[in-house]
């Protein structure tokens, strides 16, 4: 099996879906000749022609709005938003339209489509090339929100997302684009949406995480293990619809939980996990549910390493709930 980086796996997933399904079209800013600023769409124009992989004018609203129309009329659009930070001009199309079309039309019109976009910090991108906006979208019924953390998942989840009958926001952790590698099968395979992945087993503490925080939490868990604390690390992979059963099962096994994400804490995705626990598993809890997150500030530039949760902050939290 070839060993690929995460970005290569994304490219492979696009390639595979485009080959299998002629209705798949890839477009966005700079995706054609340049192959995207991170090279996720490299060679797709060459291989499938400018009919299937093409640049658009600089309008995220136009990209998503036209994608919805294409999806209504039988294409499978895979739209790229160059950075998640630049998705906001399309917020209305995503939240008011893609997410609500099936509902408001009684299922007569639907918008099966994928919006791919790199998110998160770690590249010294400052306020506008680093954000993690998953919570905005997870509060929007009708959308699916998927975040891979390994090359294998990136390809398998992407192929599944493209085949999915609902609009999927596919958030790619740009910090992992080239820093993680893994074996990736050739050709078609899928990873089911709305399933979690056990990164590491452990009976003492449960850590929930996703995207670029998965390696950070794994490292923290390894350090914890050196101190005798066994940590179960769960990669949520699909945030919406979340596999709530798997989450609550994992909570109940240890009664000690840490939730980790890069986004600001206040009303972040971690709050939903904590709230779910407070509602459905509070009697199992042996310690407070600790969130390790970005700060409730915009994303800074020079000091981003303070802003982003690192393994030491996660380890602190693991030790805290363990010793509580």
């Amino acid at each position: 099996m070839p060993t690929l980086t995460l970005i290569q796996a994304v490219n492979d997933g696009l390639h595979t879906s485009m080959k299998e399904d002629p209705s798949v079209h890839v477009f966005g800013e700079d995706v054609a000749k340049k192959g995207g600023v991170f090279l996720a769409t490299e060679n797709l124009e060459t291989e499938f022609g400018t009919e299937r992989c093409f640049n658009t004018p600089l309008s995220e609203d136009g990209i998503i709005g036209t994608a919805i129309g294409m999806a209504m009329n039988g294409l499978r659009p895979v739209a790229e938003i160059q950075f998640q930070d630049f998705i906001f001009p399309a917020f209305d199309q995503i939240v008011s339209e893609a997410a609500k079309l099936r509902y408001r039309s009684g299922g007569q019109y639907t918008a099966p489509m994928v919006i791919r976009t790199p998110y998160g910090g770690g590249i010294r991108g400052g306020l506008y090339h680093s954000q993690s906006g998953e919570a905005y979208f997870c509060h929007t019924p009708g959308l699916k929100v998927v975040i891979p953390s390994t090359p294998y998942d990136a390809k398998g989840l992407l192929i599944a997302s493209i085949a999915d009958p609902d609009p999927v926001l596919f958030l790619e952790p740009k910090a992992l684009y080239r820093s993680v590698k893994g074996e990736v099968p050739e050709g078609h395979y899928t990873v089911d949406l709305s399933t979690t992945r056990d990164v590491r087993e452990g009976g003492d503490v449960t850590v929930f995480c996703y995207g670029a925080m998965v390696p950070v939490c794994t490292k923290a868990a390894e350090s914890a293990a050196e101190g005798g604390i066994e940590t179960h690390v769960v990669d949520l992979r699909t945030l919406l619809p979340l596999d709530e059963e798997a989450v609550l099962d994992a909570v109940k096994r240890t009664g000690r939980v840490v939730v980790v994400h890069e986004a600001p804490r206040f009303c972040g995705f971690g709050a939903e996990i904590s709230a779910m626990i407070a509602e459905h598993a509070i009697e199992y809890m042996e310690a407070p549910v600790i969130r390790v997150t970005g700060f409730d500030t915009p994303f800074p530039n020079t000091l981003e390493h303070h802003y982003m949760p690192d393994h030491r902050r996660v380890l602190d939290a693991i030790e805290h709930v363990y010793n509580f």
Partner: protein, 372 residues
């Protein structure tokens, strides 16, 4: 805004100066009847709203010719991306008043399951009349995408995308026209300049010399037509669809017309529209205008109008009666169609709602088991 002389076909005497609208007598009468049906539908909805039986309606008086003239240019394989003030286009293509009335009541027979406000119709048959959305301007880029998809597959389809003068200020207008221009997508953009966006006059919307000129910004032709002249609107839209079908790309048409009432049944225009302006436009009534043409063609008498009015009124009244008799949608419709399959968390919320409704005695679906 300076005045631009709009395209007209029907002259003051009902003549058309040799223009052949390309419509049979039946088709011409169908246009006429549809305009009367729109007016009947409006009148009955107003009554229903005033008596509290429906919540809201959007009147169309004054713009019937724009709706019907444009619709008459479209084939059944075309798609219509309408605004909330366009249902004459659906009626023209054979949507049944009763199916519209189910939506007005938001009842169990409404094909949108009572989820939308009144006048937010969705139809897939006999023509694609795409689910109306309240946010202004969002449907414009969608029309471009749908037209692009058809073009990619080599299908004969044109998207007619209709919106108001206010809609031209929206984000969707800018991205849609820009993308359509670059892609040469087969779209007809129909800007219904009816003078007002709720209480804001068109002059407060833009400093440009009318709306058609905005086409220049996107490299497509812009055309101004008299929106109260059904044949002029038809002519402009036919030409635009022909260009689109020939691969020449989109056209922006500005239909100059006037909203002869409030924005909706909740709005009183007397506070902001001067009475004289209404009086002026009343003389330009689009139905009367078309009658002069039909009369000149020997197809019309006052009795014909009375007869057709009776017919459409009966039809729409019966539709209202039928729709009113249908109960509300079942509770499970709140929870379905969010996704293709109902996810566990929504299912659980639905079950809880059922349990509560059963206890409270207002579950409409019997056993209290979430049925989906």
């Amino acid at each position: 805004m300076k005045a631009t002389e709009p395209l007209q076909v029907i002259d003051s005497k009902g003549g058309v100066n040799g223009y052949d609208p390309g419509l049979s007598e039946d088709e011409l009468m169908h246009c006429y009847r549809t305009m009367l049906a729109v007016r009947a539908f409006d009148a009955i909805c107003l009554k229903l709203q005033r008596s509290g039986r429906i919540g809201f309606s959007i009147p169309n008086e004054g713009i019937e010719a724009t709706q019907v003239g444009a619709a008459s240019a479209m084939k059944k394989t075309d798609w219509i991306f309408p605004s909330y003030r366009d249902f004459g286009m659906a009626l023209y293509h054979g949507v049944k008043p009763v199916d519209m009335m189910h939506n007005m009541f938001g009842n169990a027979s409404d094909n949108s399951r009572g989820r939308q406000m009144p006048v937010h119709f969705t139809f897939v048959e006999p023509i694609k009349f795409v689910s109306i959305s309240s946010p202004i301007g969002t449907h414009l880029p969608q029309a471009v995408g749908a037209a692009f998809a058809a073009q990619r597959r080599g299908e004969d389809m044109v998207a007619l995308c209709s919106f108001g003068d206010g809609g031209t200020s929206s984000l969707g207008f800018h991205s849609a026209l820009n993308f359509a221009g670059v892609w040469k997508a087969p779209v007809v953009f129909l800007c219904q300049n009816n003078g007002w966006a709720i209480s804001c006059p068109a002059e407060e919307q833009t400093a440009s010399d009318g709306f058609a000129i905005k086409a220049d910004a996107y490299g497509m032709p812009g055309v101004v037509v008299d929106g109260n002249d059904l044949l002029a609107v038809r002519k402009a839209v036919v030409e635009a669809t022909e260009a689109a079908r020939a691969g020449k790309g989109p056209t922006l048409i500005e239909a100059k017309t006037f909203r002869m009432g409030g924005h909706s049944t909740s709005d009183d225009p007397s506070g902001y529209v001067p009475k004289e302006v209404f009086d002026e436009w009343r003389k330009k009534d689009p139905i009367k205008r078309f009658e002069t043409y039909l009369a000149a063609s020997g197809l019309w008498t006052p009795e014909k109008r009375a007869e057709l009015e009776k017919e459409v009124d009966a039809e729409v009244s019966a539709a209202a009666k039928d729709a009113q008799a249908v109960g509300p949608p079942p509770l499970e419709t709140v929870f379905s169609d969010v996704y293709a399959e109902i996810p566990a968390h929504i299912r659980a919320q639905g079950q809880a709602a059922f349990d509560l409704a059963t206890r409270k005695g207002d579950a409409q679906s019997g056993g209290g088991e979430f049925p989906l």
